[in-house]
């Protein structure tokens, strides 16, 4: 933690050689970051998947590793979406007759422990913890439904400024039990 802060502070005080412009907003503040993360969580909780997808940059990726010590693309992951596959994921959820999201998940995401690490001009790296809670309601006695499940996760975001908005270049979600068996994670963890 101390190491991260030191790194962040070093970056903040280094001269902005790349942009050379003081007009560019300073690095994201924690409250800016929280606003961004809360809004993202709400889009997912409200199942506004198309709008969520539009938060990603054209080269954006979404990664839910099994082993977070590996690099993306090394071995297999729970989710390892490039931008095209992310679009397929959203298309599948919103436009096709899925079984695994019928009935759909209700989710509620609690976002906390937000940290911001400046990552050069117009870029930022965020860390946060999320407690993702989920339930699929259904009839009495239906196996797999009606149970609230809890997914604690450690998340990292890389953001890039795109005009007036920040875009997600990479979202990494490490579930606390990422290497354990899971039932149905099709709701977008």
């Amino acid at each position: 933690m101390a190491r991260q802060r030191a790194k962040a502070s070093r970056r903040q005080h280094s001269p902005r050689t790349k942009s050379g412009s003081a007009a560019l907003p300073a690095a994201l503040t924690v409250s800016d970051a929280e606003r961004f993360l809360f809004a993202e969580a709400r889009l997912l909780d409200e199942r506004r998947f198309d709008e969520w997808e539009s938060l990603f940059s054209e080269d954006g990726s979404y990664w839910v590793p099994i082993d977070p010590a590996k690099e993306p693309g090394q071995g297999i992951s729970i989710i390892s979406d490039d931008r095209k596959r992310l679009h397929e994921r959203v298309f599948r959820l919103t436009q096709t007759p899925v079984l695994d999201q019928n009935p759909p998940s209700r989710t509620m995401r609690l976002v906390s422990n937000v940290e911001v690490e400046a990552d050069g001009a117009g870029q930022a790296r965020l860390r946060c913890r999320q407690l993702i809670t989920e339930v699929r309601p259904g009839g009495l006695g239906q196996a797999g439904l009606n149970v609230v499940r809890v997914f604690p996760a450690s998340c990292e975001y890389r953001l890039r400024r795109d005009g007036a908005r920040w875009k997600i270049v990479r979202k990494k979600v490490v579930l606390l039990d990422s290497d354990q068996p899971h039932y149905n994670l099709s709701f977008i963890p």
Partner: protein
């Protein structure tokens, strides 16, 4: 006697009627049936336990459950893999708790008894508490009754009795060979860690589904739409493909779903890869005659009774945990002797469909939970597995059905019935 009655009633849970093969719903819901399955199937017959690439070096180990029993697979410094019951000979604690790892010995944490990687007892704390002639040689970790290595696949039997491994695997052998043959050096390497799912349903629901050629158009319509979106194939093309090939029921409970082999890049994956990567084509043509190439290019989902599937991208291991709780492990593997790009494509393709957030597998799992719930309803207590009974034929001891027929499932339940009826 009660035992005899019970033996009789297990056999009655599968109605092998020549026109109307049925399975009683209690095979999915009755905890007593599950307990007997663990005794009679998982702790007696040949069960898949691991692949040699998971334990490349001396000291590597992996823990597994065989039925309900904890077992350690361990590679000793003599280079051999040992399968040992995970239970200290003193007061019975496990000697290994990790899923996998590397260690020079196994140490029981309770009273510090230490075992070598082959199970030999090599250390006892405060050993003066035992007489001088205490026979350490008799107190090693107990090896399982029987173990077999077929082309790197390790199988365990916890019983001294019953068919030999060669007898057990015989009917599936040529299909396993062809499956492995897509590597021109006939070697695979598991990529760890695996995908893991757990679902609130019985283990046989996964067994029945992996070679089910009937459900795809309905359960995976969503997947077909994704393929259409990416302009890979239209829904109609996929549905036509699902009519091709055969469903095979083999002896000893094995079975498979097969799509026809071909050297035409438009109709088989292997031919497509050979077309795209000349070095792969060269290696394959150097090793195999044309008829062999056609055979091994057939895409097959091969079930090895009772807990293993061989798929084109992964080994699938079924781990029963309770009558209504099952874990499934998908070990994606790299083919050796092929260009990296081929394996990369296989891995990324696997991730797209499989895993707990894939575009296909969670739809299957969803249906398993629906069967599990439905099986509680007793208005009709039987599930029907008769599809294609009137049209299947017997060839070389195999039953061969239309690709959408329940021929392999009948093979599974015939073996289930046999094992569950043994004294």
């Amino acid at each position: 006697m009660a035992v005899t009655e019970r033996t009789q009633s297990y056999a009655d849970l599968v109605a092998d009627d020549p026109r109307e093969f049925r399975v009683h719903g209690s095979v999915y819901t009755d905890a007593e049936v599950f307990g007997s399955e663990m005794d009679r199937i998982y702790e007696r017959t040949w069960v898949y336990a691991g692949h040699e690439s998971e334990l490349p070096a001396a000291g590597d180990y992996k823990t597994v459950l065989v039925g309900t029993q904890p077992v350690v697979l361990s590679r000793h410094e003599d280079g051999k893999i040992y399968a040992l019951y995970n239970r200290c000979r003193h007061r019975g604690a496990v000697v290994c708790r990790q899923e996998r790892g590397h260690s020079n010995f196994f140490r029981c944490r309770y009273h510090n008894w230490v075992y070598a990687n082959n199970g030999d007892l090599i250390g006892m704390s405060q050993s003066t508490g035992y007489p001088d002639d205490f026979d350490r040689g008799a107190y090693g970790l107990v090896p399982v009754s029987r173990m077999a290595n077929y082309r790197g696949l390790f199988f365990i039997s916890l019983s001294d009795h019953g068919p030999t491994f060669d007898e057990h695997i015989g009917p599936a052998r040529k299909y396993i060979d062809a499956w492995l043959g897509r590597s021109p050096v006939e070697q695979i390497e598991l990529l760890l860690p695996p995908h893991r799912y757990e679902y609130p349903g019985n283990w046989k629901l996964q067994a029945e589904n992996g070679y089910d050629g009937y459900h795809g158009n309905y359960v995976h319509l969503s997947w077909q739409r994704v393929l259409q979106l990416s302009k890979e194939s239209t829904v109609e093309e996929v549905q036509r493909y699902r009519q091709e090939g055969a469903a095979r029921g083999l002896l000893n409970g094995h079975g498979l779903l097969e799509r026809p082999g071909s050297l035409n890049p438009a109709s088989s994956w292997t031919a497509r890869m050979m077309d795209r990567y000349p070095e792969y084509a060269e290696a394959m043509r150097a090793k195999y005659a044309e008829t062999q190439l056609i055979d091994l290019s057939a895409r097959r989902n091969i079930f090895i009774f009772p807990n293993l599937y061989l798929f084109d991208t992964h080994l699938r291991v079924i781990v029963p945990k309770a009558v209504n709780r099952t874990e499934v492990q998908l070990y994606v593997y790299a083919l050796h002797g092929v260009p990296d790009a081929i394996n990369d494509g296989r891995i990324r393709g696997h991730e797209r469909f499989y895993g707990p957030a894939g575009f296909g597998a969670p739809d299957d799992i969803e249906v398993f939970t629906e069967v599990q719930t439905g099986a509680q309803a007793r208005g009709n207590e039987w599930n029907l597995f008769s599809r294609g009974q009137h049209r299947e034929r017997v060839e070389n001891g195999e039953r061969v059905g239309h690709t959408t027929d329940e021929t392999p499932q009948r093979s599974l339940y015939r073996q289930w019935r046999l094992e569950m009826s043994r004294p």
